[in-house]
Every structure is written in C-alpha cells, then in structure tokens.
Symmetry: none
Subunit: 128 residues, 4 copies
DNA sequence: GTGGTCTAGACCACC
DNA sequence: GTGGTCTAGACCACA
C-alpha cells in the first residue's frame, strides 16, 4: 500500500491529496490520464467508491476531468487550480493558527526556520 | 457569541482550546475558578452537554479540576500541562504538514517570518 | 412515496430538486431545519446514502448547511442561491436548445404561450 | 472538432442530434448519402464505434438506412420521422419542465418570446 | 475496459 | 437522535 492513512482525516481527502501532490510534483501533466478508479482502489486497498469520491472532489475543484468510458484526466490549469486552492487554504486557515501557536507556546520562529532547512535537505530527490 | 465555530473541528475541542488559550494567556491562574458550565454554555450559545464534554477533556489533561458543587478551577501546573501538550501536538502533527506545504506550494519561509513579525505587532496587548 | 422518480435523471438530483422546490415555494425558510437524512430516506423509500448525497450537493451550492448532530438547515440566501443557480442553468443551457427546437420543429411560440396560460391555471393553489 | 460535447448527455445521442439537425435543415435530403462512419469519426474526433452507435440509433428510428458497402442514406420520410419524434419528445418531456421553471423562477413568458424574435433574426441563413 | 449510481449495512463522532 | 464515512456488492450506460 502506497499511503499510510492517518486516522484523523477522512480517507477520501487523503487520497485526493495524494493525487494532488502527484500533479503538483509534475508526475502527471495536463490532459494526461491518471489512474482509473478501480486501479487506484486496488493499489491503495480501499473501496472503489472511496476513490470515486476523491475523484469527484478533485473534479469539482477543476483539478481533473472525466471523459465517459475513458477515465479521468488532469484538467488544463489543474496544477494551478490545486495550487491556488491549497495556498488560499494555507494562508487563510493554517497560518493564523500557526502564528497563534508560536506566540502562545513561545516557540522561536528561528527554530522553525532551522527545522525547515533540515527538512529540505532530507527531501532532496526523495520525492520522485 | 464569542467564538465563530469553524466547521472542520468539533465544537467541544474548539471550546477546550478557547479555555486553554485563556489559561495560557494568564487570564486565569492556578486555583482560580473558571466560568461555570452553564454560564459558558449561554455565552457561547451551545448545549451545556457540549461544554461539559470540553471540561471533561481538560480535566483529563489535568488542566482544570473540579470541586463538587463549587465549579471548575485551574489545576496546579495547568498552564504547564496545556503548554507541553500543545507543544507536542505542534511539533509532531502540525509542523511536518507545514513544512510539506511550504515546499509543495513554493512558499518562501522568509515570507512566513515577515508575516509573523507583523502578527506580533498587531497582537501586542490586544489579545485579551 | 412523495416523488415519482423519472428514470432518466439520477435519483439524488431529483431529490435535490424536490428540496429546492420546497425552498423556492417558501415551505422552508432561512435557518429552518429541513427533514433529516434518515427521515427523508424513509419517506421517499430510498437509501439514506442517496439522500445524503443530495444534501451534500445542495450544501455545496450553499442552499443548505449542516450543524453537527442537529441536522440540515436552510442557508441564509439559500433561496436566492438556488434561484440564481437555476436561472443561470435555464438561460444558458435550456433556453438555447428550446429556441433551436422551436425553429427546427416549426412550433409557433404563441402556442407555447397559450399552453403556459393553461398550465398556470391548473397549478393555482395546487402547489402547497 | 465541429461539436462541443456537453458532458450531461451521451455522445452518441449528441452525434445523432447533429445528423438529425442537418436533415431537418434540408442539408441532406431523401436518398442522399450522408457522411461515412469513418469520415464522421475523424471529423468529430471520436471512436468509430460511437458514430456507429449513433447511426444504429437513427436507423432504428427510420431516419436513415444503409446499403451494404455503400454507406448510409437519408430514409424516405426521414425528415418527417425525425420531426415527429422530436415533437413528441418536446411536448411530452421538455415542455412541462419548461413551464415549471417559468413559474418557479418567476420568468416572464414575454421575455422568452422577445428573446426568440432576436434568436430568429440572428439565425436567418446563418445555420449551415 | 471506463465512470456513475444505488443499495444494504456498518461504525463513528458528535449534540 | 444527528450527519459523515467506509465497505461490499451490484447494475447500468458508455467507449
């Protein structure tokens, strides 16, 4: 199984993220066919309905689109859409809480920055 | 209503956070009585059961304790407990995803740092 | 059973329309609770999942919203939203084809108009 | 590509409509040969099987007929057949929903009529 | 083969 | 009680 599902978030969201990440990383590009529902369901050992739900979710965000009988494909601007969607989410939802935590928990932002440099080194080349 | 409940997280957790923050900010100190369940329920326009659940949750984390018939009070070391709990949560759960986002969404950490300086200025003294 | 499901369109869309119509007709107003998923499922003799899907669809269009553990409620501006959504659909998707048919099938628009006057008479007061 | 396939209806039906319209507009008349399956498939960038299905559908409605090895031809009474078929469809399926929408969305039928006059002017001679 | 829909039934967290 | 998610399995139309 390619994903370790964390318990806190729903599986279909995690799958959508998994697909989004592949698109963001350039593994799939515009108009390229992505894994079929059944294929991915088998690969991730989940029910096809669950994958279907993820794909519906991504389709709704105009990240992918469907051609009847053929499968799902990366939408034109799919990468941009997912990126702007996630950026909005990040700046509007994650960041305020993040700042709040830094302040309340008295964490030095320089420590965060140092941690990030390490993180970057660890993930060089490892994200295919 | 003092809290805008975000839809993604459960209400009782949001209420617990609300209380925790007040303690972290020093608004309530050790052995000081906090709002009664009923009071808070009215203030936040939620079911008393929900507030009760929040208090149970905080009690379990040894942030508050109860004196029968008198109400809930800030535990000795309450502030430390909540702080260490939140720090653990922050470093283990929030930070990895945060780093991942920075990388994937091509956000410069210096931008984050600059934003934080602003945030600190805005919240000097204003967070009651 | 309150709806005669037509075979051509998916059930969950028909249910969404059923709810939309009730809101458009003023049967439910802003912040009023609508039927619970299970209730409606029993009433319409369909699977709760199907009703759930309809509600998700409407929620996405900001016609209804959910309060955890309490149920679904008509959204502020829910009526406006559904109305503008349907009007857009009508003018952009239905009307062009309608005009095309009138022309190709050599149907007189006055005949359409006359039929509408009759239709209005028949439905006076009958739509509760 | 000559047709923008709308996602809601199946492609083979859309192709059948495309052919029907040409016949209704008098572009092809009785016993005239229509595009071959292969030609049309290339023109519309679809699978020949799909065009085949459209032709079968039209053949079933006695709008076209086939001569082995020669191709498909407009049937005698082909125009009349498609016209009566579409009229029935129009009055039985489209019109009731149309009326319902006018009422529910508070659209003035006079507005519809005015729009049609414009539509007629725009399409004088321009529909090839 | 593909996606799309629906059912039945289950379990969960939440209020 | 409420919605939210997931599984298993089925059937359909479509390419």
């Amino acid at each position: 199984m390619a994903i370790e599902f964390s318990s806190s978030e729903s599986i279909y969201i995690q799958i959508a993220d998994y697909i989004s990440d592949k698109i963001l990383l350039g593994e799939w590009t515009t108009d390229e066919k992505i894994s079929s529902v059944r294929e991915l369901a088998i690969e991730l050992e989940v029910n096809p309905n669950t994958v279907n739900r993820s794909y519906e979710f991504l389709q709704h965000q105009e990240v992918i689109y469907t051609k009847r009988g053929l499968g799902f494909f990366v939408a034109p601007k799919g990468k941009e859409n997912i990126k702007s969607y996630k950026r909005r989410q990040f700046f509007e939802k994650d960041l305020p809480g993040f700042y709040r935590n830094l302040l309340l928990l008295e964490i030095d932002i320089l420590e965060i920055e140092a941690g990030f440099q390490q993180y970057k080194l660890l993930n060089k080349g490892s994200n295919k």
